[in-house]
Amino acid sequence: MAMFEAKELTKYFGGLAALSDLDLEVEAEEIRGIIGPNGAGKTTLFNVISGVYRPTSGEIIYQGKEISGLITSKIAEMGVVRTFQRTALFHKLTVMGNVLVARHLQDKGGLFRAIFGTNRRIDIEHEEKALEIIDFMGLSDLKNELADNLPHGHQRSLGVAMALAAEPKMIMLDEPVTGMNPTETKHMTDLIRKVRDEWKMTILLVEHDMKVVMGLCDKITVLNFGKKLADGLPEEIQENSDVIEAYLGGEEVAELLGE
């Protein structure tokens, strides 16, 4: 059975449906792309899955457990972590500081330890682990910079690094490459692939850059007005007439076809 499942997921804001009867099945270690025109409900989907919003109806099952209605931190604890469309960082902390904080789930730091400074060993372990992640995201030479002072591209990577630091089993990336130049984009794409291959994570990816999506994802789900429009392999999606229709307006189609 699938690692992650959403059944007839529906979310209403006031009168209008941001999501309606959405079904979604994601296998372990799959990279699933979620695309659709603006306002299709992609981010809402992430918010509902990660527990920011409680779904109006429907179920969210993760590793056979119902997680809809749980608080975000609980869901994160179970292994589902998301990044944000906005660059969400702790701006007054260093890169290292951010990643260390993000390792909260691995080490909450007990009161006794806090007061008497025992167990230095644990702290050192965490710093090593954090460094590993920072290094993996290619931020090692910036590790003592204040997050505030990083260039945009690196801030995005730091966002991902923090999600990784929580050591989730499933990670939801909300437009990880927006505002990146081609080289940064390339780098980020490779990293995401490596995250799956080496760290054995399942990945949900919301992205506008179709090159990235088509190049990276095993399967793609297309949303439109909160409904699922299509669901399948990248090439199937590219041929799907409904999808093309939804994306009417030339340059977007071109974008869709990755030209």
Partner: protein, 318 residues
């Protein structure tokens, strides 16, 4: 051991040394002021501990009162020694804090601020309403003094001063360690971005209440110290006016750094004594100071020294 660490240890040692010789030079009246000053240090430091999560409360002084009443009741009715009642008073205040924090958690920013005022007032009215055991508006009298330890009589100013100095240093040390620990960081990141914090698995609600209870605990300790120095307490003692004074200290000092509030108390305690000749004009003077700081130096005195102040950076309002 690194160089600056050595330096700061020397610094703290020097500070303690000064504080220890001081009472032998200052006259008795000023020793008494220093005792209250030390108690207030616990109060502001614990207030900041809560504030680091972004929750500014208006019931901290009431929680101090809870500690004072608890300690007084235990000492009077069970005849327990101060060494027992003081920590228990902290625990009691912590429990009261735990009791009131859950409803408060539903609010943030200004809502939290005002809600805490309401809850605090309610607690005070309970003391006023129930003559047994709280003594009603008259409060409690004949609270036992700390008593004697061999030749040392803690009724005398200097012994009590040193006891308070030890307890205060202990509390401040603990709070400093917490502030610097992972837990302390967690508090601060919650203040900066609670949504992000939640998304990486931080139980924001749990940590906010944890900070609140912890702060209440230390406020309770301060309360116990006060109650057994005065030997008489009443609800008026823990009213809104006293709370506003606490705010003045915190605002004047600033809350970005651990030292900020302490600076605040130090400076204001001095100003307070120094302006006594102004008699009836004094509230006007302090009102002006409060306004001036909030407008021209929102970071407090500390921001003159250390440039970054999170106090007024990011706002959380309902």
């Amino acid at each position: 051991m690194s160089k600056h660490k050595v330096l700061s240890i020397i610094g703290v040692a020097a500070l303690l040394a000064v504080m220890s010789v001081l009472p032998f030079f200052a006259r008795e009246y000023y020793v008494e002021i220093l005792i209250i000053f030390l108690i207030n240090i616990i109060l502001v430091t614990s207030y900041r501990l809560i504030a680091t999560t972004g929750d500014w409360t208006l019931c901290h002084v009431v929680l101090m009162g809870a500690g004072a009443y608890a300690s007084a009741l235990m000492a009077k009715h069970f005849g327990w020694p101060f060494w027992m009642t003081m920590p228990l008073a902290g625990a009691a205040a912590g429990l009261v804090g735990l009791g009131i924090v859950y409803p408060l958690l539903r609010t943030v920013g200004f809502g939290f601020f005002i809600a805490s005022l309401a809850v605090g007032e309610f607690i005070r009215l309970v003391w006023i309403k129930f003559h047994t055991p709280f003594g009603g508006p008259r409060g409690m009298i004949n609270i036992p003094y700390v008593g004697e330890l061999g030749p040392i009589d803690f009724y005398e100013a200097i012994p009590y001063y040193f006891m308070t100095l030890m307890i205060t240093s202990g509390c401040v040390f603990i709070m400093y360690r917490i502030d610097r620990s992972r837990i302390g960081n967690t508090f601060k990141v919650i203040y900066e971005d609670d949504i992000l914090a939640e998304s990486i698995g931080i139980r924001v609600g749990r940590y906010r209440s944890f900070a609140f209870v912890l702060g209440s605990f230390f406020a309770g300790i301060a309360g116990a110290l006060l109650a057994h120095r005065l030997s008489a307490i009443d609800p008026h003692q823990f009213g809104l006016d006293e709370m506003v004074y606490l705010l003045v200290w915190v605002v004047v000092g600033g809350t970005a750094t651990f030292a900020g509030p302490v600076i605040g108390v130090a400076v204001m305690t001095f100003l307070f004594e120094w302006t006594r000749p102004l008699l009836a004009w004094r509230p006007l003077f302090f009102g002006a100071i409060l306004i001036g700081f909030l407008i021209f130096l929102p970071g407090g005195l500390e921001s003159l020294i250390s440039k970054f102040a999170f106090w007024n950076k990011k706002q959380k309002t309902t």
